[in-house]
């Protein structure tokens, strides 16, 4: 049977009208207060430099420390580290603490226009190195463990290559290191992007602009189906609370310092210099072969932002033989927010670190 376009649109409208009859449910929802707070695990800010802060999460009393070497978590400059502590019952941070792993975490803050000239070198050899030194002195140790997430993982790999004497174990999660792939749309789109005109115009790249770009990666799911799901669960309080928490995190996107963005797109996305050991940071070449420490590399099989092909080459390129790839059957965010994969991710890291936990006091 063939329908006219009018009939099709009418049917479509009816479908949504029937499906989204939510008025009464919304009334129930607004009658009761919602808890949509994120990042609720207590922490202390123990170091600040410009906009950058270092958070310290202590293992709760009564829980024995399982890993003695301090673990520093480096998040990306895109979105915020609060993703690791999004929901009280599904918090990576809380899970680590309960397993006896103490955490230090970098909060990159919100760059302002005065930060537009900051390069990858300033982030890695400046802020990160200062923080690593601060922790080494504070904890009285020669080396610390480093875990990087997404772009923060790329920074961590660069750091581990340049400062081999300060890092004991490296964990990279959903970390792009090989940018020459057509698996992920970002990799395809970034190839032809005129990044110079963008950075020259904006100074810092606005978080909202990048969020819009991320929504465009899958408009059907991210702009339509997601909100249909929201409407459908409007009377499900825990669902709505977690949905709003996720929305808060997704759209809390700091601007990215212009020069860092320019270098990241040109040298990595467009020229793929890191994996070729040709990336220059400041006046030093990044040689992944110099990473001769244990490396644990996580990535998501269904990650459309940083696809497997962008992640899985790292362990072949580093100089260490103690390396492991862990591919989880989930997407970019699923590793951190799904309770199923948190229960794989956190115990795996805890065990892996604990097996390599011998350390020397300075």
């Amino acid at each position: 049977m063939n329908m006219s376009m009018d009939e099709t649109l009418k049917g479509f409208t009816n479908y949504f009208k029937n499906s989204l009859n939510i008025t009464n449910k919304v009334k129930d929802l607004i009658d009761q207060p919602l808890n949509t707070k994120i990042s609720e695990t207590p922490y202390e800010v123990i170091y600040t430099e410009d906009r950058v802060k270092l958070k310290h999460y202590k293992v709760p009393e009564g829980i024995k420390k399982k890993v003695n070497v301090p673990l520093l978590v480096t998040y990306a400059l895109i979105n915020r580290e609060t993703m690791l502590d999004l929901q009280p019952k599904r918090s990576i941070v809380k899970n680590f603490l309960e397993k006896g792993v103490e955490l230090y975490m970098i909060d990159w803050g919100y760059p302002s226009m005065k930060d537009k000239y900051l390069t990858i070198e300033d982030h890695v050899c400046g802020y990160m190195d200062n923080i690593v030194d601060f922790i080494r002195v504070r904890e009285n140790v020669q080396k610390i463990n480093l875990m990087g997430i997404c772009m923060g993982g790329t920074f961590s790999a660069i750091y581990a290559s340049l400062f081999t004497d300060k890092i004991k174990n490296l964990i990279t999660t959903v970390t792009p290191t090989n940018f020459d792939t057509k698996q992920g749309l970002l990799h395809v789109w970034m190839k032809d992007l005129n990044v110079d005109s963008m950075v020259d115009d904006y100074g810092n790249i606005p978080g909202d602009l990048m969020n819009f770009g991320f929504l465009l990666l899958n408009p059907a799911r991210l702009m339509l189906d997601k909100y249909k799901g929201f409407a459908r669960n409007i009377d499900n309080k825990p669902f709505i609370e977690n949905f709003v928490r996720m929305e808060k995190w997704i759209f809390d996107s700091p601007d990215v310092p212009g020069e860092t963005f320019r270098q990241f797109i040109k040298d990595l996305y467009q020229k793929n210099l890191l994996i070729k050991n040709q990336l220059i940071v400041g006046d030093r070449r990044v040689d992944l072969k110099k990473i001769n420490i244990p490396v644990l590399n996580f990535y998501g099989k269904n990650d459309h932002l940083v696809p497997p092909e962008a992640c899985d080459k790292l362990i072949e390129e580093v100089g260490s033989s103690d390396v492991e790839n862990v591919c989880l059957n989930t997407g970019h965010i699923g590793i951190y927010v799904s309770s199923k994969y948190q229960n794989v991710f956190v115990p795996k890291i805890t065990e892996w670190l604990s097996e390599r936990d011998s350390f020397k006091k300075v």
Partner: protein
């Protein structure tokens, strides 16, 4: 009489008249007598007109009416030329109109884009002259960049619409859909959504989409840069520091901080 002599006569007499008039005007102004002032102004005007008339008639053996004819002739000729040029532009636009395929939306968009790039944008590229040359050029550039951005955005939005159009075709051919579905029955919706997602993925991986996407992002940046350039000119008039000034300051702070950090690390 030769040209030089004519000019000297005119110049001398004009100077004399002007000097006398000015002297009379000053003395009457000091006298507080309003009617005298008015009289002097009228006299000055009359003398000036007489001078101009004498100058025009002396050398060219033409009267003042001929002078207005010459002026009108120049104007008419300029207008004719301008008209001729616009007529060429008009013909080009008509030609482009006639050659496009009006049946499809992408053909229309492509036509508008070509029309703008090949014909209309020429107007904004005309060289500007005079004291306000640089400012007019910036305004023209901003208009040009804005229109380029607009055409890119239309094309981009249209591309994003293509998968929706394709999936509507799917719904059109699906009899079940006409019955109306509820939340409990998501079969058609899921089918449609999966198809929509697939169509978007095909589109996003296409070279054409990438080209349009890059062009849109680039044209937005170019428009914003051109617009900011004008805004900065305006702000400068009011003594407000502009982006360029602030950038220099940021750069200086950045370099100073780097030097301090390096000194602190090496001490």
């Amino acid at each position: 009489m030769g040209d030089k002599a004519n000019f000297n006569n005119w110049f001398d007499s004009n100077n004399k008249e002007f000097f006398n008039s000015f002297q009379n005007f000053i003395s009457s102004y000091n006298s507080d007598d309003q009617s005298k002032i008015n009289e002097q102004i009228n006299n000055t005007m009359k003398e000036s007109i007489k001078s101009w008339k004498a100058f025009v008639e002396k050398d060219n053996e033409k009267n003042i009416d001929d002078f207005s004819d010459i002026f009108s002739e120049i104007l008419t000729s300029s207008y004719d030329n301008l008209n001729k040029n616009f007529s060429i532009l008009n013909d080009n636009i008509n030609e482009t109109f006639e050659s496009h395929d009006s049946g499809k939306l992408d053909a229309v968009l492509s036509f508008v884009k070509n029309l703008y790039e090949n014909e209309i944008s020429k107007v904004f590229s005309l060289p500007q002259i005079g004291l306000s040359r640089a400012y007019q050029e910036k305004i023209n550039q901003t208009l040009d960049k804005y229109l380029i951005f607009q055409t890119s955005v239309y094309e981009f939005i249209y591309m994003l619409y293509i998968p929706i159009e394709q999936t509507l075709e799917f719904l059109k051919d699906n009899a079940e859909f006409s019955a109306g579905f509820t939340l409990e029955d998501d079969r058609i919706y899921e089918k449609w959504l999966t198809l929509l997602e697939k169509n978007y993925m095909n589109l996003f991986h296409s070279e054409k989409y990438n080209k349009v996407f890059s062009k849109t992002v680039e044209s937005l940046s170019e428009f914003r840069t051109a617009r900011n350039d004008i805004v900065q000119d305006v702000l400068k008039v009011f003594g407000v520091p502009v982006n360029k000034d602030m950038d220099e300051l940021y750069k200086e702070i950045y370099n100073l901080k780097k030097r301090i950090n390096s000194l602190e690390k090496n001490k």
